[in-house]
């Protein structure tokens, strides 16, 4: 895929993939239309085969339980022995009986057990159980042979429960981990002193330089409809304040290459 500029941001992501990465948390912050999701998509394509990756769109994720499930499905439940033990232990502790459930498969069973654990619970109880499970889950990830990159998009639309979980338990574990790498994008991003020392914040201000758009126009199979393409593009960029979403929308109406 083609992406206009954001070289500095892409470089920060490359650094995140390094074995000796000192800042495992990378935050992309920008207004709507500044290209956060495109940048995230680009980052995903840069991750080598031998590195695990999990992408989470926070618009369709209502609680941290779904993130555990998604990670298990993506990386295989075989990697999460400790987590599974802890889920079983908590269910036993709270006398929750999930026997007799006919759904087959490890994933389904964990889904049922997790749901039982969080049904009809107060926010405090949920937070407490999330803490216990997050520690076990992170411990399993730390035992993986290769690093694991977790990409979270649309942070500002996450529920308060997820935001609390990300800002606290989750990023706290990432700060102490050798294997976990995290990228979070949003109009707003997490803030905390707890893990600030191992976090890189990159803001997205749009792409104002006309030249940066030329490869994108070419990749979209379009031509600039003007005698002097750079001047025309510069006018568009200036009028649209470098906002990538609006500029791409204008470009897709340019004539196609014959």
């Amino acid at each position: 895929m083609s992406i206009a500029n954001y070289k500095e941001h892409r470089k920060a992501f490359s650094a995140l993939l390094e074995a000796d990465c000192s800042k495992p948390i990378l935050l992309f912050k920008g207004e709507s239309g500044t290209g956060k999701s495109t940048l995230m998509e680009h980052c995903r394509t840069q991750i080598q085969q031998d590195i695990h990756q999990v992408s989470v769109d926070l618009r369709s994720t209502t609680n941290a339980m779904q993130i555990f499930l998604q990670t298990g499905r993506r990386l295989s439940w075989d990697c999460f022995d400790n987590f599974q033990l802890q889920v079983g232990e908590l269910n036993r502790q709270f006398n929750i009986n999930v026997n007799g459930n006919t759904q087959a498969g490890v994933g389904n069973m964990i889904n049922v057990e997790l749901k039982a654990l969080f049904d009809n619970t107060t926010p405090d109880q949920r937070a407490e159980r999330y803490s216990t499970l997050t520690n076990a889950w992170a411990e399993d990830i730390n035992k993986l042979d290769h690093p694991c990159v977790l990409l979270f998009d649309v942070y500002e639309q996450a529920s308060s429960e997820i935001k609390n979980w990300i800002d606290g338990d989750f990023l706290g574990c990432v700060a102490d981990s050798q294997k976990m790498r995290v990228v979070i994008a949003g109009k707003s991003v997490p803030e905390s002193f707890g893990w600030n020392h191992c976090c890189e914040l990159k803001k997205l201000y749009g792409v104002h330089e006309a030249e940066e758009w030329l490869p994108v126009i070419q990749a979209m199979g379009r031509i600039v409809p003007a005698q002097n393409p750079i001047d025309f593009l510069a006018g568009i960029c200036l009028a649209l304040n470098g906002n990538p979403a609006a500029i791409v929308k204008a470009i897709e109406n340019f004539p196609r290459i014959q």
């Binding site: 529920s159 308060s160 409809p225 025309f232």
Partner: protein, 633 residues
């Protein structure tokens, strides 16, 4: 080159910032076919779509190639696991355009979207929210009620993630002026509840102020004022909180919402309790209890009875407190309220501890602790462990007490409960005092006092200072002790401080000052057993032995398991010439006295008795009993 592009650029350059986004969108729409243009507008209606959903919104089937062309547009993006969505910024532009230029079409598309969503699984929160959202924008007659009912249902069932999703989705059209009136007010009210839950008080207050603009719905207005009271209470703004609760209570009453009224009275009770206005709190709990019982609300009933028990406990009325906790415990068990069951059991432990019934107290604390650990309630777990520490300390099992306190302190620190941490430090300091580590005790008390200061809990700080006074008193450092009691009384005139200061005055033989403090303690009226005991002591040193016997006997009736009270009763009997009975009572008392300073006090009192009454028969026998017990304990 084509003029239309130059014209487009010129238009963009001449437009103001707010118009430019729409000009780009309009330019895109102009370059699309009519069908695709219709599809783009329809696709902006839902928060996400797939081909079937979009067909339903459009009201006709869109050809595969048109759907494919739509999803390739730059402002249409993939929505994981659900299909696609129009990018937020473009969606807002399209919705505003449609609302402004063709509201009827907007409502028709919303109606079609709503009909489709209703056919989906409504137990899935995402579909339920989407159904309600489109119903509201289609102006369905039942949509408002469905929204309110669903919102309250999720709020009451702790499904806060679903509730927050609903309020966020509804607040977007409220903010852009597409929804208003009662729907807007309820959306703001429900969002405020979420904000309160997550301690975002400033945002909650703003939403509640918005809600209050909707004056027609009195239930909403009163609930809103009650919530404002809750915020003030969280922020320790107690006068404002009280004002809000009273205002809300009045509106609930006018509108005959009995349970709303009871909730306000119960909230007022909590404020009185925080401010140590125990009698007022007790009256409020009683009032609220009557209403909850009439309304057949066992949860409210159990809470109020428990509250009454706590107030009796604070006032030293242990027998009534015990009755209340037993009653509340039965109801909590019936309604399977595990937290309530555990806290009533813990309070029964507190009462037993205060009555010096230590075996019983340990039993209650262990029962409560098991439940707290099962329901994962670390705060109360820590408080229970602290209670066990108090019992061990009173039994002079200091190593065990230290273990318990350290365990509790670690939990309080882990969950960042500063009040619990301060309370725990306070307990540790008393323990250090009992172990004669006076310097360490004073340092620990100072740490606790600083914490109380930081969290603005002045009453508890005064108890810290009062405990420091007791520590000095046990060391016979009367000057610093007096200073501490005076300081504590200045912050919070609690009956215990007057009782302790009168004890100090009696030790330095300033009997008029002691008498004045006894009168003050009587006036306050709480902790009557201790007041009776110091009255007995005063009478004893005034050579009114018979009166001293009567007072100490009354005190003992209230605290039969308290070895210290029984021992003092024995001293008064001795002074009254009932030597044999005194000996028997002292024998029994000494089985329930454990700490060094308690033995020291008794030996001092025997000496003083000899000094005032002359050498009494059996004094040496009693001294021997005390020393023997002290050495063999």
């Amino acid at each position: 080159m084509n003029d239309k592009y130059q014209d487009f650029l010129s238009e963009l350059q001449n437009a103001n910032e707010s118009e430019r986004d729409w000009l780009v969108m309009e330019f895109s729409l102009q370059n699309l076919s009519e069908v695709l243009r219709q599809a783009v507008l329809a696709a902006a209606i839902p928060h996400w779509f797939d081909h079937a959903y979009l067909n339903a919104v459009l009201g006709f089937p869109l050809k595969d190639e048109d759907f494919s062309a739509l999803t390739e547009l730059s402002f249409v993006e993939v929505f994981p696991e659900r299909g696609f969505n129009v990018h937020e910024r473009s969606r807002n532009l399209l919705l505003d355009y449609l609302w402004k230029n063709n509201k009827a079409r907007y409502q028709k598309l919303s109606k079609q979207a709503s009909a489709f969503c209703k056919k989906q699984d409504q137990t899935i929160a995402a579909w339920r929210v989407e159904s309600i959202y489109h119903g509201l924008l289609a102006n369905h007659t039942t949509a408002k009620d469905s929204f309110i009912e669903q919102g309250l249902n999720w709020l009451n069932r702790f499904q806060h993630d679903s509730l927050e999703h609903l309020t966020q989705v509804v607040l977007a059209p409220v903010n852009s002026g597409k929804l208003s009136g009662e729907v807007a007010a309820w959306a703001a009210f429900l969002q405020a509840q979420i904000d309160i839950l997550y301690s975002r008080y400033s945002s909650a207050r703003d939403f509640l102020q918005l809600t209050l603009k909707q004056k027609n719905n009195k239930f909403l207005v009163s609930s809103c004022i009650k919530s404002l009271g809750d915020i003030h209470s969280h922020l320790a703004e107690y006068d404002q909180a009280r004002h809000c609760y009273q205002q809300a209570q009045s509106i609930f009453r006018q509108n005959k919402s009995r349970s709303g009224e009871a909730e306000c009275i119960r909230a007022l009770a909590s404020i009185h309790r925080i401010l140590s206005e125990y009698s007022l709190a007790r009256d409020c709990y009683q009032q609220a209890l009557t209403i909850f019982q009439q309304e057949l609300d066992p949860w409210g009933e159990a809470n109020c009875i428990q509250g009454l028990g706590e107030m009796h406990g604070f006032l030293g009325e242990y027998s009534q407190a015990q009755d209340c906790f037993q009653q509340a415990l039965i109801i909590n068990r019936q309604i399977r309220n595990f937290l309530g069951t555990a806290s009533c059991t813990q309070y029964l432990g507190d009462v037993s501890k205060n009555l010096a019934e230590y075996d019983q107290a340990q039993d209650y604390y262990q029962q409560a602790l098991t439940i707290y650990q099962q329901i994962k309630d670390p705060l109360d777990e820590a408080n229970c462990i602290q209670g066990l520490g108090d019992v061990s300390r009173n039994l002079a099992e200091y190593d065990q007490a230290q273990d318990y306190y350290q365990q509790a302190l670690a939990i309080h620190q882990q969950i960042k409960d500063r009040l619990g941490e301060a309370n725990c430090l306070g307990c540790l300091s008393v323990l250090h005092g009992a172990q004669q580590k006076i310097e360490l005790a004073a340092i620990t008390l100072d740490q606790a006092a600083q914490l109380y200061e930081e969290i603005n809990n002045k009453n508890s700080k005064s108890f810290c200072i009062g405990n420091l006074g007791v520590l000095y008193l046990h060391q016979k450092q009367f000057g610093p002790a007096l200073l501490a009691f005076n300081q504590a009384i200045e912050i919070f005139p609690h009956v215990n401080f007057y009782q302790n200061r009168s004890e100090l005055y009696m030790q330095i033989e300033d009997y008029p000052a002691a008498q004045a403090d006894i009168k003050q303690a009587e006036l306050i009226g709480a902790y009557s057993a201790y007041t009776l005991l110091i009255k007995a002591e005063y009478a004893l040193w005034q050579q009114q032995a018979l009166q001293a016997v009567e007072f100490s006997q009354q005190a003992l009736a209230e605290r039969p398991a308290d070895g210290n009270v029984r021992a003092f009763f024995a001293l008064t009997l001795l002074a009254d010439g009932q030597a044999q009975l005194a000996r028997a009572e002292m024998e029994q008392a000494l089985t329930a006295i454990y700490q060094k300073h308690e033995f020291d006090y008794l030996l001092d009192a025997l000496n003083k008795l000899t000094r005032i009454y002359g050498h009494l028969a059996e004094v040496d026998v009693l001294r021997g009993q005390i020393l023997n017990r002290y050495q063999t304990r």
